[in-house]
């Protein structure tokens, strides 16, 4: 599913890259490996100017330097940084927030996403995975992305926010428009965003009229320095929780099953040693990290010996950091028993993914429940597998054939 808006072909990855190019979407790893060796901080004039570091150390340096690299915009698109940006809050706090506001906005949300409350969501997640598998296990095949992976995070986050589950298709369409269709003209993007905002306003109104035990009512009750959150803050945080919680974990589940479909030894090993699964999931997160973040350069500075200019975008490809041979032994290989794994799939520094505990639980349970019923499977048609474009990468069509079911 590459961008629909006809991206001009990339002439040279070091000086003209585009993260929505079909070559990048299909297989970005050789591109990053090559850049890491030849041009570790690349630049493209597209989108008004974007930098691209590919070494782990440079990516970490940006993540830790919140002074020179602002999070006020985190999705590189045709809407240039600058106009309408509002540091330190940004459009979707706290992912778009800079210090010192960031810590305040994040602290509000951390308890709901900390390990112990997330553990309590495991039974309902497991039940969901089981009922999804029940629907197709007898068919001998399934699209593991469209029939399985995509339903898991959207169902759980809709439940946490207190949104109607029947709206799941709309949530996924907004995710596509906001995060994948980044090369669409700004007016098309803004129209899509207005529709999303209208939906969230309606949810807010409804929750104000009848509060309940969910994250939406929690945000409406929350106080910072004794004051309720502004409408923009509440809505922005709902945008974040809704959009960031869907396609990311969907991608991680899909990519893990894509890997297992092609590696019979890994499937057999996980069947024989199910206790290895959490370690294997960490390796899937390292090797197939779905999320590339972005920053806006706030002040002129230098990165990896290259001058970077204020006002430009910077892509922060944590998936490329995870494949850097300077940071990981046998970085290009997927080793499901990798014991030492300091991967950066959930980012580094103050913006560590708020939902990482939720994502990890969903990924582990989804793979576990799939393997329990479908221990042996393969790609039905490798050419039919498609990958999402933009900063979140994962399979969007993943037709699998079952070799053995239980």
């Amino acid at each position: 599913m590459s961008s629909s808006s006809g991206v001009p072909p990339v002439a040279d990855w070091a000086s003209d890259f585009d993260h929505t190019d079909p070559g990048w979407v299909g297989d970005p790893f050789p591109i990053w490996d090559d850049l890491r060796r030849t041009c570790p901080v690349a630049h493209s004039a597209r989108y008004g100017g974007v930098y691209l570091p590919t070494r782990h150390d440079d990516i970490a340096a940006v993540a830790y330097d919140t002074e020179h690299f602002s999070s006020c915009r985190v999705v590189v698109s045709t809407e240039p940084p600058g106009e309408g940006d509002a540091p330190p809050v940004g459009g979707a706090p706290p992912i778009t927030s800079d210090p010192p506001f960031h810590a305040v906005a994040r602290r509000l949300l951390l308890p709901a996403f900390s390990p112990k409350p997330i553990d309590r969501l495991e039974p309902v997640t497991r039940q969901l995975c089981r009922s999804l598998v029940d629907e197709f296990v007898g068919d001998g095949r399934a699209d593991a992305s469209a029939q399985y992976a995509q339903h898991i995070p959207v169902t759980i986050i809709a439940q946490m926010l207190g949104f109607p589950l029947e709206d799941a298709d709309r949530f996924r369409r907004w995710v596509h428009e906001a995060l994948e269709d980044v090369a669409a003209p700004p007016e098309v993007r803004q129209e899509a965003f207005l529709e999303l905002e209208g939906y969230l306003d309606a949810q807010i109104d409804e929750h104000e009229a009848s509060p309940r035990e969910d994250l939406t009512s929690f945000l409406l009750d929350a106080r910072i320095d004794g004051q309720p959150l502004g409408r923009e803050h509440v809505r922005g945080t709902m945008v974040l929780l809704l959009l960031a919680g869907i396609d990311t974990t969907w991608s991680a589940i899909g990519a893990s099953l894509w890997h297992l479909a092609q590696h019979p030894h890994d499937r057999a090993r996980l069947e024989a040693e199910p206790e290895l699964l959490p370690t294997a999931c960490e390796e899937f997160l390292r090797a197939y990290a779905p999320v590339t973040m972005a920053r806006v350069v706030a002040h002129d500075t230098e990165l990896g010996g290259v001058p970077v200019q204020a006002g430009q975008w910077l892509l922060l490809p944590f998936p490329a950091a995870n494949r850097d041979p300077e940071a990981f032994e046998r970085a290009g290989e997927v080793l499901i028993d990798r014991a030492e794994n300091r991967h950066a799939a959930f980012g580094l520094g103050i913006h560590r993914c708020l939902g990482s505990n939720l994502a990890r639980m969903e990924l582990r349970v989804a793979v576990e429940e799939w393997l329990r019923r479908i221990p042996d499977f393969e790609l039905e048609d490798a050419a039919a597998v498609t990958w999402s474009a933009g900063q979140v990468r994962g399979p969007r069509h993943l037709p699998l054939r079952f070799l053995r079911t239980a």
């Binding site: 602290r107 951390l110 308890p111 996403f113 900390s114 390990p115 112990k116 959490p278 960490e282 014991a339 030492e340 794994n341 300091r342 991967h343 950066a344 959930f346 580094l348 520094g349 103050i350 560590r352 990482s356 505990n357 990890r360």
Partner: protein, 66 residues
């Protein structure tokens, strides 16, 4: 052997708590700390080293006694 989590470096990835819950706990915000004074009971030394080796923020240190 003793383990210690640097609270300024910990960002709540929770790898230590997942790998060695005997040695680490998390607060209501998901930030980790060592249990008690961080003394590693005999037999858990490998788990302590595993937690160190999986912290993306390099927030955990080990103090080895001779």
């Amino acid at each position: 052997m003793k383990v210690h989590v640097d609270a300024d470096k910990c960002q709540g990835h929770n790898r230590c708590y997942a790998l060695a819950p005997e040695l680490f706990d998390v607060d209501d915000y998901g930030n980790a700390h060592e249990i008690g004074d961080g003394t590693v009971p005999p037999g858990l030394e490998d788990k302590a080293r595993l937690a160190v080796a999986n912290c993306p923020e390099f927030a955990i240190t080990i103090e080895e006694h001779s």
